[in-house]
């Protein structure tokens, strides 16, 4: 009873005074339904099992905490990559800073424009995949996002598109509290790459719903950071069709609190779904949580989860990863690895790997490790003249390499590697 009351109070406080954005009938209905889900589920508290390792209090608080802006001399990420840039400043679309939204093989619109239209393909995705992803584990913050999202983009890929779309989230207001929602539909046989970069806001709630039709391919590369005080809860819901490919990679720098939930549902045979992440965190107030749920509901599909965390000076990393293989999802090949490199004894990694399998002809493996820098390797490097810090950085990058290798596009991976080197050598 006490928990129910706590959740009810938290929910009431958060929703007090909130008014939903207005749009077309279908959009208003989707938002109202989402709000009803929030009220029915209640917002999470630290006493919820799914939030055992991550305290959601600052994510659900009615008064959002502020976050100082982080400045350094690094230029924009992926600057040398030819891409369609779509800029949001503290969660508001900035047309002047963005490129033209028309691109060969892509239909890109602002969410507010899409939700204002009475007939739109996004109706079948917006809030729909999120609602599907509420079972068997409730994700009330995702429902809250669907209800409240004020901006974002909807993208439909109709052809094979090599030029990535880059959503750039700038953070300029120390008190920004932002809710964004993006929707992607990759049509049959189409192929696209979505990049997401930037610190976004003091408090950021972001959802991405992706439907990949049969034979489609969706590539996703994201870099979160680097503001130290930022908080973020993000959700990715994907519905993955037959013979299609879904690949998502996230690199996270810094942040008081980051919770990245990735909910993948493989519904067509012979599909591939990979989700990977690397994070680097420094200090007692760094907390990073990857929560992944992959459902196999089709035959002969492959899923892969690769997560690596570098933690130092009291930083905390969390991994909750599950593979659910439904009855009939034979020939499933599921793999999951989560590893942390703890650079001191104060840092901690909390991992909860889970497999739940209802088919009898599957191969699923999972592993989780925590370890320190390999002293023998460190001495070997130093004995060749590499200074201790540089040797440690080299070994740290080597530790992260397996996750970065999940990125297919070498130019993107190289940019992220450069950023990691910068972070390691500057200690921030």
């Amino acid at each position: 009873m006490a928990l129910a009351k706590l959740k009810a109070d938290t929910t009431a406080a958060r929703l007090s005074g909130v008014s939903l954005p207005d749009g077309a009938g279908w959009a208003n209905a989707a938002r109202a339904d989402a709000l009803a889900r929030v009220q029915q589920m209640g917002l999470p508290t630290k006493r919820d099992e799914y939030w055992k390792y991550t305290d959601p209090a600052s994510l659900t608080a009615a008064d959002p905490p502020t976050a100082a802006l982080f400045h350094n001399d690094e230029g924009p990420l992926f600057d040398a990559v030819d891409r369609v840039r779509i800029v949001f400043v503290d969660g508001v679309f900035d047309a002047a800073a963005s490129d033209d939204l028309s691109a060969e093989g892509l239909e890109i619109e602002r969410l507010v424009d899409a939700t204002a239209r009475d007939i739109h393909w996004a109706k079948d995705v917006y809030g729909v995949l999120e609602a599907r992803g509420q079972v068997p584990v409730e994700r009330p913050l995702a429902a809250l996002n669907t209800a409240m999202a004020t901006d974002g983009v909807v993208i439909r890929a109709t052809g094979k598109v090599t030029k990535p779309v880059n959503l750039i989230y700038l953070h300029k207001d120390v008190a920004s509290d932002v809710t964004l929602h993006n929707v992607v539909k990759v049509e049959a046989g189409a192929d696209m790459t979505l990049l997401e970069t930037g610190p976004a806001a003091a408090r950021f709630s972001k959802s991405l719903e992706v439907e990949v039709a049969d034979g489609g391919a969706f590539h996703h590369v994201r870099a979160q950071g680097r503001d130290h005080e930022r908080r973020a809860v993000t959700h990715c819901f994907a519905k993955i069709g037959a013979e299609s490919t879904f690949k998502s990679f996230t690199l996270t720098f810094n942040g008081v609190l980051t919770r990245n939930e990735c909910v993948l549902e493989i519904v067509g045979d012979d599909a591939v779904a990979h989700v990977a992440g690397a994070c680097v965190g420094d200090g007692r107030d760094f907390h990073h949580d990857d929560t992944v749920f992959v459902t196999h509901d089709a035959v002969n599909c492959e899923s892969r989860q690769v997560f690596k965390k570098v933690l130092r000076n009291g930083a905390t990393g969390v991994f909750q990863g599950k593979i659910l293989v439904k009855a009939g999802a034979q020939k499933t090949d599921g793999y999951q690895i989560s590893q942390s490199l703890l650079l001191d004894e104060d840092s901690q990694f909390l991992a909860k790997p889970e497999l739940e399998i209802y088919a009898d002809d599957v191969a699923c493996s999972h592993g989780s490790t925590s370890g320190a820098i390999d002293e023998d390797a460190l001495f070997y490097l130093r004995s060749r003249g590499v200074p201790e810090q540089e040797a440690q950085n080299l070994l740290t990058l080597a530790f992260l390499a397996e996750a970065l290798e999940e990125i297919e596009n070498d130019a993107l991976a190289d940019d992220l590697r450069d950023r990691l080197e910068g972070w390691l050598s500057r200690h921030s």
Binding site: D374, E375, D376, A377, F379, Y380, L381, R382, S383, R384, G385, V386, P387, E388, E390, A391, L394, L395, L397, A398, F399, L400, A401, E402
Partner: protein, 251 residues
């Protein structure tokens, strides 16, 4: 070149004395060999000189061209010209062999106040040196020592030595785990590096390696001390009669 005086070393973790007063002087351009039974302290000597953790020097000194080695970090010892070819080269997944070599070469140059080698110059040099050690492009690309055979690992050690051009090279049982052909190849690599300004300390169990890398002086180490020194004929004596006679003689 290398000067070791009355070196006493114990294990940091336990009260076990390993080296009990080692004296050794190696002149520039000369090759010294240390032989001795298992547990005599040969490998400990190589680790202490290169700065590995876990050992405590309780007495004595060691210097390279007058610079006190024992006060330096391992990377500083490398920069002043000390090189240890490991008995068991370490595998480093995720770090490319080429990246490793280039990082090491440039770190040493930087420490000595020299200009870093350009990518093109480095590549040219490493290719030439790798070729003479029969190290192919694939081995250079792979992660450091990962999946290398015993022979490949040892050749990779010699390649590092060739690239870093140290003044004082310590070879810790470089012949262990090698077949005759691989040993010859490694020995040729070492011999190619012999010069008037470079000295070698070859630690080995067997005379065999010394047929290929001809030493000027051979030392016998036992129970943490050098108990006998002589010319190359001392190694032959060990090969023929074992250590028992020599140890009985000096006891």
């Amino acid at each position: 070149m290398l000067e070791i005086k009355d070196l006493h070393v114990k294990l940091e973790e336990e009260d076990k004395q390993i080296l009990k007063g080692v004296d050794l002087t190696i002149e520039p351009g000369s090759v010294h060999a240390i032989m001795g039974p298992n547990g005599s302290g040969k490998s400990t000597l190589s680790y202490v000189l290169s700065g590995k953790d876990g050992y405590e020097v309780t007495n004595g000194e060691a210097s390279l061209e007058g610079a006190d080695l024992l006060d330096m970090d391992p990377e500083e010892r490398a920069a002043v010209g000390l090189f240890l070819a490991f008995q068991y080269p370490v595998e480093i997944p995720g770090v490319g062999n080429m990246t490793f070599l280039r990082t090491a070469v440039n770190a040493q140059r930087k420490a000595r106040g020299e200009e870093e080698l350009s990518a093109a110059d480095f590549l040219k040099e490493v290719r030439a040196k790798a070729k003479s050690l029969k190290i192919d492009a694939d081995m250079l690309k792979r992660p450091v020592n990962v999946g290398f055979s015993g022979g490949e690992k040892k050749r990779n050690e010699i390649l590092q030595m060739a690239m870093l051009e140290p003044k004082m090279c310590i070879l810790d049982e470089t012949d262990s785990g090698l077949d005759v052909d691989a040993m010859k190849l490694v020995a040729e690599g070492v011999n190619a590096l012999r010069s008037t300004g470079r000295s070698f300390l070859v630690i080995t169990h067997y005379q065999r390696l010394l047929d290929h890398i001809k030493p000027d002086v051979v030392h016998i180490m036992a129970d943490g001390k050098i108990v006998k020194s002589g010319g190359p004929e001392l190694a032959l004596e060990v090969e023929n009669n074992g250590y028992a006679d020599i140890l009985a003689e000096v006891a």
